[in-house]
Symmetry: D2
Subunit: 148 residues, 4 copies
Amino acid sequence: MNEISPERAAFLAGDYCRGFIRYCRIEPEEIKRGYFQSRVIIGEDHRQQDGFIHAGVMATMADHTAGYAAFTLAPEDRQILTIEFKINFLRPAFGESLSCRSRIIREGSQILIAESEVFDKRGQDEVMAAKAMVTLMSVPKEKLLSKD
Amino acid sequence: MNEISPERAAFLAGDYCRGFIRYCRIEPEEIKRGYFQSRVIIGEDHRQQDGFIHAGVMATMADHTAGYAAFTLAPEDRQILTIEFKINFLRPAFGESLSCRSRIIREGSQILIAESEVFDKRGQDEVMAAKAMVTLMSVPKEKLLSKD
Amino acid sequence: MNEISPERAAFLAGDYCRGFIRYCRIEPEEIKRGYFQSRVIIGEDHRQQDGFIHAGVMATMADHTAGYAAFTLAPEDRQILTIEFKINFLRPAFGESLSCRSRIIREGSQILIAESEVFDKRGQDEVMAAKAMVTLMSVPKEKLLSKD
Amino acid sequence: MNEISPERAAFLAGDYCRGFIRYCRIEPEEIKRGYFQSRVIIGEDHRQQDGFIHAGVMATMADHTAGYAAFTLAPEDRQILTIEFKINFLRPAFGESLSCRSRIIREGSQILIAESEVFDKRGQDEVMAAKAMVTLMSVPKEKLLSKD
């Protein structure tokens, strides 16, 4: 399995954290062919009414990181869309950061399937807090519905 | 079917928008027994790299609003947890606001199941942009794992 | 919305119940554009260890009937594949028959999304026992991976 | 991690293949604590209209085998119910048998979460054809809704 070029990895790392993802302060951490890892340092803005990390933060990470795992396999003229995902919350998350590890388990030219595991980091320990399966579609950039 | 009290509705409306939800500027809009509706006015912070509204915003809304639809049915000494959800993205969202409508389709004393429909509002029109099924659990507040 | 031709409906009705579906005795009941309804009369072979109708019977119905709802919208030279589905079991089923109603909620040229509702028929009553969301793909018949 | 007793394993192996599962000829293959493996030798009755193994066979296996993986962890006076599952079909299956391997990834006293991987066996080779995430609930046997 050939590796992703340093230029492509750098491009994806920069492209990863824009808009809502930057607003959520989720950052790329490690990029390999078919794999993407991200993390977020938890602040008060990431929590819910009981003080736990909000499920929406984990879902957003799981989806977005899966999409960029797919980007590591797609030609540069393709865009990746999420068709759907499903996420199970295994246990409440309340640590100081989250790490999300996404890998592609089915690489098709059109349909890709990823698994994302979200780990809750508590000092030296980490536990899996959520796991998602994400169905993605690779489409030519010019076919992407324009919003204009 | 008896109605939710104005006091309970007011409490849930205030409780709804804390932490990550307030940060995302998602607000309650309508509360009925077994039903919760929310909305968010879209800013640049809600978008992704292509200018569309990020799937994570829709997933966060779909999850959180489903949880509060469950709260409208649960006794006041219960807490609601999301066990899992699945969301399909039906079409790209790019309008000026989103509306999420969640209703409970299975009311159990422990397990509740909700559907959340997220609509993309474009001027006078709206289209369903995403649909989720959410599995929730009602637990006594004192059993909720404390993070302390 | 134009209607499906009687010839196409008759073809889909016959095509519906082959192989595993015929073995499970699941039959077509009503066919409209974007909609397919099926039923199965329950025998001992459909039950599980506690006497309830097996979740696998409901999942098989929900998937297959969704696929044929998609066939009602697809050109005749296309094949329909299930990419994934998710099914919630709302309450135990133990009636004398099941009815499954599938409708397409997102009609794309490649990706179609269906909802399937499975009803448990108990004498004059029926209750929704399961609900599924199904992601389907329409592919040209000649592109379908041959097993030979 | 302590092991499952030979008596309990023998009981679960026998209990596994009743009703619809026996009808589908799905059989237990290996039982460990938190793990259950099953298989089915494919006949014409397991196929769909194109000759591939029907998605319903894989979904039924994935659900049922996950349930029995949960049984290996539950006290003997508990019953296991499937709350919901989601299954992705990674590639068409057409081999001579299927093997399903289910393991519990979250063991709670009430809620258990399993992953099931279904492999398509083609001579000496096998490929993963489907993967499911299954949410299960452990309930006291006496609380199980009686159908009588």
